[in-house]
Amino acid sequence: MRLVLATVGVSFLPLLASAHHAFSANYDVNEKGSIEGVVEEVFWANPHVHFYVRVTNQDGSNELWDAEDSNLTGMSRRGWNRNTISVGDKIRISGSMGRDGRRRIWAAEVFWADGSPVR
């Protein structure tokens, strides 16, 4: 498992991000990236679903990352339920990274270890 970061150039973003909103205060929409790891905890509740993912870094150390997803209504519309992703699953999550080096990611897309998207 390893951490993958990919920064997207600002020129792709036609929008200004206000620093006074919860989403943009926690996440940097200009910095897209992904994490790979093992699900250690699933928080299946509002206001937002969270997957806590243990990520092993290239130097062998590991860190617990907080991957935030939609509310339960949004998850339900997507066809997901509390059993879609379980503790112990290996997944890759891509999306906006946490600001200021926070170990957070906004889960825009989630994939299984074989690269297929979680549906």
Binding site: S18, H20, H21, A22, F43, P47, D66, E68
Partner: protein, 361 residues
């Protein structure tokens, strides 16, 4: 923190106003309040928008706002939802302005509207960053349509699904007190929604959540999917309780009556909170007026007006609309703040959170 360079620019331009070349007769026609409909479909034509505004289009993709155009001492000023707007030019019957708005992901946009005034309404096109975003239309809007009309209640009961897209004006005309509250606000710690605490009646319109209305003989029940809230609107003619400003209620105390076919709700006694994700504050003396009415297609529209002179120099508006569903069910959308504290703990920020207790809404 809130006084970004952008918001400063807006405030400065609005306070200065804009002198413009407009015929005297037209000044009276153009000033006042208008209901602004922004169609986000770039390919839509004027005819399509007209159908949508009349509620006759089955797939609306419209953001609404309250547009105000004022003229005094030769200066023109424009506001949307009570917040300042950059009036870029006004020449004869042509108007150009831009304004800041946030989408449902709390991302800030700048929309530029160019339009023409004809036959008592504005129509024009919207661009963002030079790209056409859609078209817009503004028709007259009456803030207080109370004409003493006899009550003619209509059936607004049932389950109403949200059609509003979670968009809203970003900056507002704050008093020094409101500005101080906004500057002190840190959304990563202070947003009540993060702790599963409702931000009050206006913010309950945010998000993709439904609500159910049950009309009873002496009150109207509103069952919200969002935060699993329940609200009673008393229609038996009662007054507000004494010392209502000390009530400190999440959803306030509401009374309602019918003005013709419009259900009018007045809410007081709300605790200090923020009514949007950007941290716009409300005070215990705030009063929210809601006007609920059906359009030609049976959709339920609500005009919210927030009167809060402690925090805002002008009333604040919000327009929301919903469609009735005979088949949908309300989910139990209760909320658990576990993840909020879990995140703070993971990031060693819990102590900072406890130290900000005085900022808690």
């Amino acid at each position: 923190m809130s006084t970004s360079r952008f918001s400063l620019r807006i405030t400065a331009l609005t306070l200065l106003g804009l002198a413009a070349d407009v015929a005297a007769a037209q000044i009276a026609e153009m000033t006042g309040k208008w209901i602004l409909a922004l169609d986000g479909s770039p390919s839509a034509g004027d005819e399509t928008l007209e159908l949508r505004i009349l509620g006759l289009d089955p797939s609306p993709d419209i953001d609404y706002g309250i547009l105000e155009i004022s003229h005094s001492d030769t200066q023109w000023r424009v506001f949307i939802d009570g917040g300042p707007v950059n009036l870029l030019s006004l020449n004869g019957d042509r108007i150009v302005f831009d304004f800041d708005w946030t989408d449902s992901g709390d991302v800030l946009h700048i929309a530029k509207l160019e339009g023409i005034f004809a036959d008592g309404a504005f129509t024009g096109s919207t661009t963002e960053n030079g790209q056409k975003r859609g078209i817009w239309h503004a028709s007259p809007w009456a803030e207080h349509a109370d004409t003493g009309a006899a009550p003619t209640p209509v059936d607004i009961s049932g389950l109403w699904l949200s059609l509003s897209r979670g968009t809203h004006k970003d900056t507002f005309d704050l008093t020094p007190n409101g500005d101080a509250a906004n500057v002190a606000y840190d959304p990563t710690f202070d947003d009540p929604h993060l702790r599963c605490v409702t931000g009050g009646v206006i913010r309950m319109e945010d998000g993709p959540f439904g609500y159910e209305i049950i009309q009873r003989h002496d009150h109207v029940l509103i069952l919200y999917e969002y935060f699993h809230e329940v609200r009673r609107v008393w229609t038996d003619g009662r007054d507000f309780p004494e010392d209502i400003e000390d009530a400190y209620l999440s959803m306030g105390y509401s009374t309602g009556h019918w003005e013709g076919a419009t259900f009018v709700i007045e809410t007081r006694g709300m605790k200090p909170t923020v009514w949007d994700a950007a941290g716009m504050p409300t005070s215990p003396s705030a009063v929210v007026i809601e006007r609920k009415y059906l359009d030609g297609a049976g959709r339920l529209h609500t005009d919210y007006t927030l009167h809060d002179s402690v925090n805002f120099n002008r009333p604040v508006y919000r327009h929301a609309y919903r469609e009735r569903s005979a088949s949908a069910e309300l989910n139990e959308s209760a909320c658990d703040p576990h993840s909020f504290y879990r995140s703070l703990d993971l990031e060693d920020q819990l102590d900072d959170y406890w130290r900000r207790s005085s900022s808690r809404f």
